[in-house]
Symmetry: C2
Subunit: 246 residues, 2 copies
C-alpha cells in the first residue's frame, strides 16, 4: 500500500468534528479530560465485527466506513463516517458489539474516548445524548438509503454516490482510493468499478490515476448519481441544523 504514507504533522481541533462542535463549552470541559487525539492510518481496523468497540471515535479529517462481511467473503459498506459523525454508536445504543467492521478508508486525524468513559459521559445526561440520538437517526437514514440503492440502482449511479460521500468529508477534490477499495465498499467486482470509472473519466467528470481520483465536475457527479445521495444528504443536513439550533 503506497498511497501517501507521509505523516501529517498538522494539529487537528476537536471542533472540526461536527458533533463535538455542537457541545456547549461547559459540557465539553467535562468530556475533554477523557478525550485524546489520534491518527487514523489507511486500512486500520477500529473494531472487528462482533467485538465490543474499545473506544468511541470522532474523526476530524479521517474517513471511516462500516463494512459488513458476508460468509462467502465479499463485503459491503453500510455507512460512511467522517467529521460529521462518530464511530461506535453501539456504545450508546446497547453498550455492546455490532455485526460489522469499522475500517479507515482515508487516513487522517480525530479524537477518541475509552468506551467506559464515553458511557459515563453520556449518562451524565447533558445535551450530548440528544446530539448522539439525532446522529443515530442520520445513521439509520444512511443505512436505509444504502439498502434501497443496492436493490434499485446501477453500479454507475452508486459509484457517483459513493464518490460524493467521500468528497463531502474531504477538504480537496482529490480522493485517495483504488478501484479495488471502491469495489469492496460497493460490494461489486473490481472490473465493474473500472467500467463505471472509465465512463466518468471519458465524460470528463473525474480523472483517475492509480489510486488518486480527482473530481473535475462535481455537479455532473451529482447529476449522474441516484436520488439516494441527495435524500440522505438532505436528511443529514436537516438533523445537523436541528443540533446547532438546539
Amino acid at each position: 500500500m503506497s498511497l501517501k504514507t507521509q505523516t501529517d504533522n498538522t494539529v487537528s481541533l476537536p471542533q472540526q468534528n461536527h458533533l463535538l462542535a455542537a457541545m456547549s463549552d461547559s459540557e465539553w470541559h467535562q468530556w475533554e479530560p477523557d478525550m485524546e487525539p489520534v491518527d487514523f492510518s489507511l486500512n486500520q481496523v477500529l473494531y472487528e465485527s462482533g467485538k465490543t468497540p474499545a473506544y468511541m471515535y470522532f474523526p476530524t479529517t479521517a474517513i471511516v466506513s462500516l463494512l459488513y462481511m458476508t460468509q462467502s467473503g465479499s463485503s459491503s459498506e453500510v455507512a460512511v463516517i467522517g467529521n460529521d459523525g462518530v464511530v461506535g454508536l453501539s456504545l450508546l445504543l446497547s453498550g455492546s458489539n455490532t455485526p460489522n467492521q469499522a475500517l479507515v478508508q482515508c487516513a487522517g486525524k480525530g479524537f477518541r474516548m475509552r468506551a467506559q468513559a464515553a458511557k459515563n459521559a453520556i449518562n451524565r445526561e447533558g445535551a450530548m445524548l440528544n446530539i448522539l440520538l439525532r446522529y443515530s437517526q442520520a445513521m439509520i437514514t444512511q443505512m436505509t438509503q444504502t439498502a434501497v440503492c443496492n436493490r434499485h440502482h446501477s453500479i454507475d449511479q452508486q459509484l457517483c454516490r459513493r464518490l460524493l460521500l467521500s468528497l463531502d468529508r474531504l477538504p480537496s477534490n482529490e480522493i485517495l482510493m483504488t478501484q479495488e477499495m471502491l469495489s469492496n465498499m460497493l460490494g461489486v467486482r473490481r472490473e465493474s468499478v473500472t467500467d463505471a470509472a472509465l465512463k466518468l473519466q471519458e465524460a470528463g467528470v473525474i480523472s483517475y490515476k492509480r489510486g488518486i481520483i480527482t473530481v473535475l465536475d462535481r455537479k455532473a457527479l451529482e447529476g449522474r448519481s441516484c436520488e439516494c445521495y441527495a435524500t440522505a444528504k438532505n436528511e443529514q443536513d436537516r438533523l445537523q441544523k436541528m443540533t446547532f439550533n438546539a
Copy 2:
C-alpha cells in the same frame, strides 16, 4: 383485497409486546394512561414518508413494515416490526420525520401513544429509554442486513428470509400475503416471487394458495435462506435478552 376481513374481537394485552413487557410495573403505570389499544388493518399506512409520526405504535399481533419508495415508484422494505418492537423510533431519535412509510403487512392488534406523550414519557428517564436504545440497535442491525442481502443474495434466498421474518412474528404457520405484496417488500418483480415460491412449493417447503402461505417445513426454509436471517435474529435475541436481564 379480500384476505380475511373479519373483525377480531379478542383482547390483546400490552405485555404481548416485548418492549412493553420489559418495563417495570411502576414505570408501566406511568405510561398506561396515555396508551390506547388499536386495531391495525391490512395496508393501513401508519405514517407517510417525510411526515412526523403522530403516534408511537407497539404492535402485539400486527406486523408492520417500513417501506422506502424510490422516485421511479418501486419500493423496498428496510425493516419489519412485530410484537418485538415499536414503530416510530424517530420520535426517540430526532423528534421528527423519517424518509420512509410504515405500512401494516398483517392486520392485528397493538397499542399506541401520542407522539408528545411518548416523548414526555421517554424524557422521564426511566428504564424505557435504554430499552428503546437497544431496540434502535436491533433496528440498525436489521437494516444493515437488508442492505447486504439486497446486494449479495438471490431472490430465492431473500424470499425464505422474508417469510421467516413474518413467521417469527405470527402465532401460526400461516402467512396472509400475496405474491404482489412480497414483491413490493423485496423490491423485485411479482413474477420473480412466483418463480421462487414455486420452487419452494415443489420442494414441499410451503404451500401457496391465493394469498395464503402455509409453511410446511420451517427448518428447510431456514436452510434455504441466506445467513442474513440467522445473523439478524441472533443479534435481536441477544439484545432482547439484555433487556430482560437488566
